[in-house]
Symmetry: C2
Subunit: 343 residues, 2 copies
DNA sequence: CTGAAAGCGCTTACAG
DNA sequence: CTGAAAGCGCTTACAG
């Protein structure tokens, strides 16, 4: 094979018969160059296969145009799809994604954050990751904006983008009550997360409007096995629920699998409602009634919030909440007027 | 908020009362520093919150310790899980992942590759992405190793890691024949991909051993809708198949949804076999008999191949194939001796 | 519009 | 073991 040779702006300058600064200007949008010079430079660059070294550019400008994206588990289909959309949106803005998978080990997040900062990312997006105050202070000290996606951290002064989780929970409560359900149980999202808490609180509030309260509540920990076990326990009780609101679709699928396994039928024996509306929720095997998190709008809000903080460091943290409509499918019995989505 | 100040090795040197080079040596594994000096430097670094700038280091060493990871669609659960494992493996080796989502638009891949090279990645992994010869030449010229994950490109002189796809197809053929199936159809993976071709070829070869040939073959394009339509067409034919081998799990789920929708039962009316063994294949709703791609071994082989080429540029391209066992579940009728997996 | 020069924050021979 | 100096490949005032 041929020896790999690094082509630099000096090489291009020599070939084009101009100074190295002239070459740099041709590749800097907005810099002033004579058309003739630009033409010579571009020709030489093309012949040599030259492209400016982004790392060198980053050093000198202080902008790496890289965004750190920290995610935990990708089994829940919501996150891969979110990553896909976030990447596309960032690429469209000329940014690049430095991806970090966080196991939730103690101290792991701290180490990741050090790496992130060492690579001089311009901003950070975390998805479904808990963050210690230590870490946030480190980011603040370094002047690097951070946006939490699908998670809030009340009082931490951090930006976040979520759906209107409490309202979503209330919508589910009203829908189930209208459908004639009397014993409404909840397999919640992890109660250590704002998302899980808010949805559970919303359900309670919605039931309270009808003078009801939840039948049983078990923390599903966003985990398939935990959720399935909870469902089994609920359905084996003396008076089992006639509806279960599950804290996200990922767990709802596990619940439906477990019910099927027990010989129970959905929604005849029990209604199931999820949260997220991942693509799989629409698949025939589940046909899940669920609250849709408007992914594209959440992604856009996340990117917009982050970029505005990058461009204006004085910008205060924002907490964006996006309305989440209820999507009616076959997994939950409906009341008489419920033909439409978006309660 | 406090003004974000960039701490450099100069700041640490000043505080520790040593030269800037001494600071650098403390953070360079293997460099010679007196223990006392190291202690002073580390103390100052800690007090100041200093970490070496990875970009500056990359400039001077010529190694960015970043790997470009190019992926297309994340709807197929195989890829998110692969990304997760690949990231973890690379992080464990001290590398970082620069993630690129490729839409399969014309010219898109070329643009991504330019970006990738501009960021001075040390190597590239592509997953389920087609690559033009143009692009590969560009990488070769730049001396940047590339490994294709779950895809081969015969004759291109590129490294690749796949499962033994043709053998996998043969295993499916033998299993279905042994199960007494007489009309075996195939909804193939995209025939523009080596993976799709090899699995289809394996099925043909395996059937030929029994003097049979495939009933019908339709290209499912790795697409849910296309696969579902193919299944409907097959089952509405005058003499429908008694088994369908589907080119990957992602399509197999769509096929099973479509069959359920037609009122057909699996495996009573027709046996279904997939390929990949994504986590969802084991879920109750599908319980899919499938060929398992050993993800961890594929990931390890990918990382090992890439790193060995990074460390020794003279290293020739490798094409690694990893044996893929058949996993027996409930979606396909078995023959009498088929109690065990791994035909 | 253009070139010479300084400098981003490091690593790494080179002397001592 | 340690410091002064060169240099990685760029961008960007500064003169002209």
């Amino acid at each position: 094979m041929s020896t790999p040779i690094k082509i630099t702006s000096m090489d291009v300058a020599r070939m084009a018969g101009v100074s190295q600064s002239a070459v740099s200007r041709v590749f800097t949008p907005g810099a002033s160059v004579a058309p003739a010079t630009a033409a010579k430079v571009r020709a030489a660059a093309k012949a040599l296969g030259y492209r400016p070294n982004s790392l060198a550019r980053a050093m000198i400008t202080g902008k790496s145009r890289m965004i750190g994206l920290v995610v935990a588990y990708l089994d829940n289909q919501f996150y891969p799809v979110a990553i896909e959309k976030l990447s596309h949106a960032l690429q469209a803005e000329g940014y690049h994604v430095l991806l970090f998978m966080a196991s939730n080990t103690q101290g792991e997040m701290e180490r990741l954050m050090e790496d992130l900062l060492a690579y001089q990312v311009d901003g950070i997006i975390t998805a479904s990751v808990a963050i210690s105050n230590d870490v946030t202070r480190r980011c603040a000290d370094a002047g690097i904006p951070l946006v939490m996606f699908n998670r809030g951290q009340p009082g931490a002064g951090l930006s976040s983008v979520t759906s209107a989780n409490a309202l979503g929970g209330r919508k589910v409560a009203r829908f189930l009550v209208a459908g004639g359900h009397r014993r409404i149980a909840h397999i919640s999202g992890w109660q250590g997360s704002s998302t899980g808490q808010d949805r559970a609180r919303g359900l309670r509030e919605g039931l309270a409007e009808a003078g009801m309260e939840p039948d049983t509540v078990i923390d599903g920990m966003y985990d398939r096995d935990t959720a399935a076990a909870a469902a089994r326990r609920m359905m084996q009780a003396a008076s089992p629920p006639d509806a279960i609101f599950v804290g996200n679709d990922h767990m709802a699928f596990a619940v439906m699998d477990a019910l099927r396994d027990m010989g129970l039928r959905v929604p005849r024996d029990v209604s199931i409602v999820g949260y997220d509306d991942v693509p799989m929720a629409a698949w025939g095997a589940y046909d899940l009634t669920t609250v849709r998190q408007p992914l594209l709008r959440m992604v856009d809000a996340t990117v917009e919030t982050l970029l505005s903080q990058i461009n204006d460091p004085a910008r205060a943290a924002q907490n964006v909440e996006i309305d989440a409509p209820l999507i009616l499918r076959g997994s939950a019995r409906r009341g008489e007027g419920d033909d439409d989505a978006g309660l």
